[in-house]
């Protein structure tokens, strides 16, 4: 089935220099395994093509049902150097949540 990430997760994003961080949190504990399985570094890198110019890192926080992504070179230089309206990556969370996921299992939404 097709799922838009916002249906199964919520998120918050921010900056550290030119690196954006996006925390993705399962809306229900039972959704977390799907995040772990489908929200891979490669999938996120592909989704943020043209926004994140560097590498993507992923960290797992199963205790919070959450993943933390670091998107390197995603903020146009970061800080006061950036020419972006969203120089601090506050809306990268929205960009993440719009992702469409194709999953093999059936999730009760």
């Amino acid at each position: 089935m097709k799922v838009q990430l916002i249906q199964i997760a919520h998120a918050r994003s921010g900056d550290k220099g030119d690196t954006g961080n996006v925390g993705v949190i399962a809306r229900k504990p039972e959704y977390y395994p799907f995040l772990e399985k489908y929200l891979t570094v490669d999938r996120v890198k592909e989704h943020f093509a043209g926004i994140c110019l560097g590498k993507v890192e992923r960290f797992e926080l199963p205790n919070l049902g959450a993943l933390n992504f670091l998107l390197h070179e995603a903020l146009g230089g970061g800080g006061t150097r950036s020419l972006k309206n969203d120089a601090q990556g506050k809306t990268l969370s929205s960009v993440m949540l719009r992702m469409q996921l194709e999953i093999n299992e059936t999730i009760l939404l």
Binding site: H10, G14, N21, L61, N63, G79
Partner: protein, 453 residues
């Protein structure tokens, strides 16, 4: 020993909700209030202010704030801890003493933490082999040495603990970790040992939850944001800390907002890197050990936090001047709003190229909704308007100045139905770049001074 202390978050950044710290000391019981004022570029702004006037260089908003809350905190014995001293905690203290005098408040003890400002010591440190090279890019400091505006060591909780031990009611620091502001009262009240890593990590986690104010109590909340009650009157978060390191995150009764495991989770994930290595001067906290539980409405229990030994280094936050930027906007209306804005951008870039101006980057983005169509904007499936926002960056100030003169002419010499230039020419501003470095803890000593007036 107290079995519980309530630590309130009063400010998440310099410029945050002005009523929040007042509400925190008036709308319910608290023992401490912490206020974070310093973002990474703030120190450079304050350093520039101090260069112009040696009595400036701290968060001036603290003065009217203390005029309002000083009687409350004295009467209720609430201790206030803030890093709003910026690059001039002494001047900040004197300003607050002046407020106390004006209000007729006597025997007020204020503690300040000095020693974080190493701007005048950079070369002396270098001669001792402490290079302050960029810890992320590994670049040598020499490449930017002449352009450095500010250099501050991030101290942790310990200097604040010392100020509290000496009886300070208000503690004003310069560059201190946001988390240290919350951890310090726990160490002070519960007598935690400086190597009880799990407890220090617990207090650090509490600090991370409180440091962004309303972001832990329903603000900027991406899950069910429409369901947050009365966010206009949001109550900022409060940590009820216990000697064993467990705590309850809550807020005052009869305030708006929401504290739930979801709002706390979003804040825990905010601006972190590797969750197993949340490094502060006080400890390393492992965020993958945090256990959250909703125990009642607006009450979230935090327990289980594990920590590890602190490193031998302090982080240094330096800033340096690195060129200029300027931004300008023009608004294009339906029909073909986006096409017009895109065409205007092309025209602008051709003209800038003709002028042979030097930029490191030109960036154009497109924004907008209803400034042209007002209520009619609701009914349209087409774009009502598009705001073209153009930014340029470079080291050649003349090129940046010249760019500023190229935007307005597009109104009469570009695509039609354009407006929004009332603000005048874009004003160039200086780029303040950030230079993170490490310094051995043995190379700097925090200096705690507590005075009474």
């Amino acid at each position: 020993m107290k079995q519980s202390i309530r630590i309130a978050s009063g400010q998440g950044f310099w410029g945050d909700l002005q009523t929040a710290p007042v509400d925190q000391v008036r709308k319910g019981p608290v023992d401490y209030m912490m206020m974070d004022f310093l973002a990474e570029v703030t120190m450079s702004i304050l350093q520039k202010q101090k260069m112009k006037d040696p009595k400036l260089g701290y968060a001036k908003d603290l003065v009217p704030l203390f005029e309002e809350i000083l009687p409350d905190i004295v009467q209720k014995n609430i201790k206030v801890i803030t890093n709003g001293g910026g690059v001039n905690p002494i001047a900040c203290r004197e300003a607050i003493f002046a407020v106390a005098k004006k209000l007729g408040i006597k025997n007020l003890k204020i503690g300040i933490v000095l020693g974080d400002d190493i701007l005048g010591k950079i070369d002396a440190l270098a001669s001792k082999g402490i290079a302050l090279d960029n810890m992320e890019t590994k670049e040598k400091l020499a490449s930017i040495r002449s352009k450095v505006i500010s250099a501050n060591v991030y101290f942790g909780a310990m200097p604040i603990v010392e100020a509290l031990r000496q009886g300070a009611q208000i503690v004003i620091t310069g560059r201190t970790t946001d988390t240290g502001l919350t951890l310090a009262p726990m160490i002070h009240e519960f007598g935690w040992s400086i190597n009880d890593w799990d407890k220090l990590a617990s207090g650090t986690v509490a600090g991370h939850i409180l440091e962004c104010g309303g972001q832990a109590s329903g603000g900027n909340f991406s899950r069910d944001w429409k369901e947050i009650p009365d966010i206009a009157h949001i109550g900022f978060p409060i940590a009820e800390a216990h000697p064993d390191g467990t705590m309850i995150i809550t807020k005052h009764e009869k305030t708006g907002g929401l504290v739930s495991s979801s709002t706390v989770k979003e804040q825990l994930l905010y601006e972190i890197g590797d969750p197993k290595d949340y490094i502060t001067p006080d400890c390393i906290a492992d965020f993958t050990t945090i256990q959250l539980k909703d125990i009642a409405t607006n009450r979230v229990e935090v327990r289980g936090v594990k920590g590890r030994a602190a490193t031998e280094f302090y982080k240094v936050s330096m800033s340096y001047a690195d060129g200029f930027t300027a931004f300008g906007t023009l608004t294009y209306a339906w029909p073909d709003a986006l096409e017009k804005a895109s065409t205007a951008d092309e025209i602008l870039r051709l003209r800038l190229a003709d002028l042979k101006l030097e930029f490191e980057e030109i960036r154009t983005e497109f924004l907008g909704f209803n400034s042209c169509f007002g209520p009619l904007a609701e009914n349209s499936n087409e774009l009502n308007e598009v705001v073209m926002r153009v930014g340029v960056r470079g080291h050649d100030k003349q090129s940046i100045d010249r760019f500023s003169k190229e935007l307005a002419p597009l109104i009469l010499t570009g695509p039609p139905s354009v407006t929004g230039f009332a603000g005048g020419r874009p004003k160039p501003s200086e780029v303040i770049a950030y230079w993170p470095a490490l310094i051995p803890k043995s190379a700097v000593t925090p200096n705690v001074v507590v005075e009474e007036a």
